[in-house]
Symmetry: C2
Subunit: 354 residues, 2 copies
Amino acid sequence: MSKVHNFSAGPCILPKEVLTKASEAVINFNNLDLSLIEISHRSKDFVEVMDWATSLVKELLNVPEGYSVIFLQGGASTQFLMVAYNLLTENGTGAYLNTGTWASKAIKEAEILGTVKVLASSEDKNFNYIPKGYSIPLDADYLHITSNNTIFGTQVKEFPECPVTLVCDMSSDIFSRKINVSDFGLIYAGAQKNMGPAGATMVIIKDEILGKVGRAIPSMLNYQIHIKKESMYNTPPVFAVYVSMLTLEWLKDVGGVEAIQKVNNAKAELIYGEIDRNPLFRGIVAEEDRSTMNATFVLEDESMNDAFNQALSDARINGLKGHRSVGGFRASMYNALPLESVQVLVDVMSNFRQ
Amino acid sequence: MSKVHNFSAGPCILPKEVLTKASEAVINFNNLDLSLIEISHRSKDFVEVMDWATSLVKELLNVPEGYSVIFLQGGASTQFLMVAYNLLTENGTGAYLNTGTWASKAIKEAEILGTVKVLASSEDKNFNYIPKGYSIPLDADYLHITSNNTIFGTQVKEFPECPVTLVCDMSSDIFSRKINVSDFGLIYAGAQKNMGPAGATMVIIKDEILGKVGRAIPSMLNYQIHIKKESMYNTPPVFAVYVSMLTLEWLKDVGGVEAIQKVNNAKAELIYGEIDRNPLFRGIVAEEDRSTMNATFVLEDESMNDAFNQALSDARINGLKGHRSVGGFRASMYNALPLESVQVLVDVMSNFRQ
């Protein structure tokens, strides 16, 4: 049987060698004759996993001195809340860029705790572009942006020059391209795209931005507590952290962020090339804002949807259905998706024209 | 090589057949040619996992009508906060029983949000007993208790007759004995003892107790949102929920809670019998409050600790070191630990005397 080409939007494809090692560790971890998931998180063997995962994040993203890296639970959705709890002062303002569903949710959670100002929004065109040219208030506590919008298929190509703390939700494009961590005060990402399975969230924080709000912060929402306890304030999501560690090892082995960025660019050129060339299809996002991670497109003639879905299914292409708020199709091409799978998809699109 | 006897306090031993199935699903889940951890949580295959896990909880614990079962992230530590957020009213009081480290943490988090009254505490004797005979204020919003105290080895044998909403942290003895769910307003448990791996938290809630506090509740901390979205408000911890489902299936197969309770009682009798019989050892908990899950004891002569540890190691007994706040030894005997392992430990203790 031919292999499945997994274009799932997330949880998404992981490297085969990562899955093999993860599967083995569930039976016998580090030759302990015990499963990874039945040992103490305080054991030497698991503490090493957490330390190594943290080190790999620092190495792969060139995290400078003065920043901490932690692994938490609760996904990006919990970060929407934690950002406001830890950074939004009583009389201050949290500035937000509204680029879609997840940005809107981040705004909603911050509004519970304080004053929010939305600097710009692309809601007028169903979030099919990234707003630019907005001005950032100098007295804002922070500016929150979403680097890649999984649902709509847009991506911030150049991060704004930001006079205040820049906070970025990178859940769906972390480790996919080079970033300059020192441009950011806080970066967070749910693991389940380019980093590992669902259940872990990684946060990179500039230490000096913390401890400046007056409010009492519940322990589980307090970045300073998790930093001090090295991601072990409570039992961490052992399996998700371990598989993230394996995925980061894999990324290092294939040449790191710079190397994977080239592959990601090649994959994006391949699919967007076909979308632009093939008169049956139309991209739905402003060209300059097209995401390298999630390519969204529709059939010009929607009555052909069923036939195209059949062609996808025949080629064992999985996960191409667009999100319900956009419709059409979405090809998610995270780090672990090989160029070969994109070629198979492009061939199906090309053949479908004939 | 003989097998390892895993007495870890948590994360802890899981049934071998659960580990085998979990390991297989990481490679190929439901014959999809895809890993469990690389498919959408909205796919039919995973929605069925969540539904089945929820149904098994309801079946195994006889959860009555009017209660919801959800799976969340963040461990019991996040529940300390969520209980107060959702149940502690602005002018009301949360009543707490302080039976150890985890109860103390629950109290601390609630104090951030409102008024807390500690009805009784066993701190005077380093938490080696369960306080009894306290009176419960009729105007309290709820009474919060911890059913089993992993660190100290105490367990509430009879739940108080409670005129207000009874909230119980059952992280370390859920599914180990019969309970009457209708006696409780809310039960929560981190998965990583009797239910599955770290990374999921199960909550059983009487629906009518919710929606009565005035405050705005952040989405991720709001039980009503998670109930409405059937544990899928955001991406759930897919692997941890799946392995919990497998463990609950295993429990059903071995006869359910009633059957496992008999085994747990037999294991407890075996170890406490030896502790009481063997003059080298002394139990450190009031006899009537001894936990069936975690048996704590010390050597009368501490200078023999190293020799005893060597004997444990020779018998491949793992995880018997007591928590640093108690010292000595702790035998954690969760559902998946076979009676045979306790017999091996008791034999080591008995032989050590000779």
